[in-house]
Symmetry: C2
């Protein structure tokens, strides 16, 4: 197979990461999820803990600033560290896509690589109940209810994605394939995507 | 295969209808697109021409009323014929899904059948350039530019869908599978959906 890139955007708890990892393993592609954290930390000088926590999160210490920033794309000094991190991430993702066949999870990679013709952009989603059950099975219980954990995480990913891309999170237009993993199933989604990667697009 | 339903929502020119027809033929399923028009005309007493033209269109003679209606879901007397048509369509689609395995194109069928567990909801989309080329090949040239024809048709479908469902047109959440036919290809999309219909969901 010629060099190809697969990006996977996913709702929290949908199994998107599991699907991405399996597809990468089965195709023998490099896989970048938390692996990106190390690279970004090395190149940016940020602490890996900070990169992990902020890599898909825009922080707004003041809700008023949140709205201003979202609505006007105002670059506020409070955002400079996040913006710096995004630029480093942006450059690393672009370089990885140049170098080798790989699967990249999240971090606006569909947007960053939107002009490449060797890149398949995929979004994995599922209804709340399916995801709530799944995160308890996969990550265990904690003090916060599964639905609140999902809502918090989705909100962060949505805000991050929409802030940096000016696109609507979950809009099918931005992806070549969107799958509801609760109906299609994790294993079938893996098979689907492996087949899709064989297409001569 | 046990009884199953496939609904196909599609952007104009994306090839969604071609995909739907082929999947129905290959699976031996009943196919409802313009076939619905005859049934609706018979049951509603409306003229088939009117059903064909208004079956996916909400008409607003006054742009001010358009905004009020969209924003408040006000049922205005000017909409009564369309609403009546929608109710007939709604009942026919629900009944067809009860009766037999079938493929239904458009007409908010994903929304109407959203609570069935034997129904796979699919959305087919593609970028403007691909669709503009395709509609000229399939439907020929006319006085209106392909892009304007697409924008007009998409706008009507979006308005109709959002008016009757209170959902966002093209939001991946409302579908089990979304495919960009320009990258996946018409033939591969057909194969994908035939495989998906075999899943024991």
């Amino acid at each position: 197979m010629k060099k190809k890139i697969l990006t996977i955007s996913r709702e929290f708890g949908s199994g998107g990461r599991t699907i991405a990892k399996e597809v990468a393993d089965k195709l023998g592609f490099a896989y970048y999820d938390n692996e990106l954290v190390t690279k970004i930390a090395e190149e940016s000088g940020f602490d890996p803990e900070y990169v992990l926590k902020s890599g898909e999160e825009v922080k707004f210490s003041n809700p008023f600033l949140y709205n201003i920033s979202i609505n006007t794309r105002m670059v506020h000094s409070q955002l400079s560290a996040e913006n710096q991190l995004f630029v480093t991430q942006f450059n690393i993702i672009k370089r990885l896509a140049e170098e080798e066949s790989c699967v990249i999870v999240g971090r606006c990679s569909d947007y960053i690589l939107r002009n490449r013709d060797d890149c398949l952009n995929v979004h994995i989603h599922a209804p709340m109940d399916f995801r709530a059950d799944r995160i308890v099975r996969v990550y265990g219980e904690n003090d916060i209810s599964p639905k609140k954990r999902i809502n918090d995480k989705d909100k962060k990913r949505k805000t991050y994605y929409e802030y940096y891309t000016d696109r609507t999170w979950g809009d099918s237009k931005n992806f070549h394939i969107c799958l509801d993993s609760s109906v299609i199933g994790i294993e079938n989604s893996i098979d689907f995507l492996i087949n899709a990667m064989q297409i001569d697009y």
